[in-house]
Amino acid sequence: MKSEPVVMGIETSCDETGVGIVRGTELLADAVASSVEEHARFGGVVPEVASRAHLEAMVPTVQRALDDAGLTLADLDGIAVTAGPGLAGALMVGVGAAKAYSIATGVPLYGVNHLSAHIAVDTLENGPIPEPAIGLLVSGGHSSIMLVEDLAGKVTQLGASIDDAAGEAFDKVARLLGLPFPGGPYIDRAAQNGDRAYVRFPRGLTAAKDMERHRYDFSFSGLKTAVARWIETRRADGEDVPVDDVAAAFQEAVCDVLTGKAILAAKEHGVDTILLGGGVAANSRLRALATERAEQAGITLRYPRPKLCTDNGAMVAALGSHLVAAGVAPSRIDFPANSSMNIEVVSLADRL
């Protein structure tokens, strides 16, 4: 009987080329090559720039991860790769590489869902996930509330952003405030010195009628517009824009809605664990507010350290290891990279 599965995870859905290696829930390597600086001057991720960087970084990043783990490919029990969702051209680099590594080594291949991987990464720090659990995934690409009944196969989406992702709103508001890309960390830092109650920005989809149709959904584009208008008016009046205060007030609006709806989802589904994941889960206010509200509601809140919240290969490896341990079938070699992969498909076991 073999012990814990050793799995390599490959992640290329956006601008990070990530290769992680885990043994069971133990993190052995987390190598990431980022092209974020190349995107900064465009104020957003440029797909072609990201894809080019992935191709260049792919093999060296795999080698770095293996070196860090002190392993060779022959030691692997599985290779997991993000099959979607994400940027199509970027995904294809990782999927192409993973398939080739699998054929060359005979190691079974698992095409997995990026969003479930964001949940699975928490096992590396906080151990097995109690099921069911609510996942709150927030990043530049997604803002979702997920119900995880079985991380190896039954994950459903309770709600998601109907327009901008939360991270996107951070980027856009950062731009309005003259802060660099990606906006999240800069807004977080500025907000430390700001007044959260300085101005009350709108909380999208929280009005009574919206709570009927979009109970667990989010909307952040109206918030972004409200911030833009507020800044405009202020400038038209010849007054300075207090960057720290606006950052704090904006951040508060985002975190208020995210945590409020996640707690509501947990309560209404009788779930007593909430997991945070995605780049925005590194936000200090989101963590603080979620902690406070979870405590009040008697809910356990879990989140991994910031480096594991952002996109990386470790999360893909963590999900892969969970699938191997659960005896889930590997994927067929002809599976596609699916930029709009359904959130409810955890892995492409025996199907496309």
Binding site: G86, A97, D334
Partner: protein
Amino acid sequence: MRVLAIDTATSAVQAALVDLDGNGDGLDGDDLFLTAFRREIDGRGHVEKLAPFIEACLAEAGRTAADVDAVVAGIGPGPFTGLRVGMVTAAAFADGAGIPVYGVCSLDGIGANTRGRALVATDARRKEVYWALYEDGAREGEPQVCKPSDLPETGADYAIGEGASLYADQLKVPAETAPVYPDLVKLVELAAPRLLAGAPSEQLTPLYLRRPDAQPAPGPPR
């Protein structure tokens, strides 16, 4: 030696196993032997089809990945997304199998088979072609990209390749009507000096010829 050859620089997704004999002082027709070959014309199917094609080639030849001694890959020019799939597949297969990988210009896989003065043109999408000129199979200068109507006076006797057949009506020289794709055996032949000399493995860099479109992603993938 047994070589895995891959090219995805055109709408042809293709993989082959090619046996290469020879001792380094010149090749003749008997030194290259195509043992297995898979090709499908599907400009959007690279990531789904290429890996199964490699598996099928290995199975047909009665071989496993461990029997492959080197990888040769077309490095374009070609539409980026598909091209990258072939190149990352070649690089990762080589890394996974612990064998070297070598890159060859994909246009040479067509041009090196031509006689006389030939214009090789492949489909670059956006109503453009990737092209290069060949004199008795030898390329003149570096590959280029432009609109078919903007091609310079080349003095070519004829044009050949997917781009030539697609834009035959805009070319100043007669075009082969049947599309022709990079010949994997030819790619291996062109890499033979490196293969036989045991040259160091290469970091494959695509012949992009175009700068990336500097447009940020429109929004979150949904």
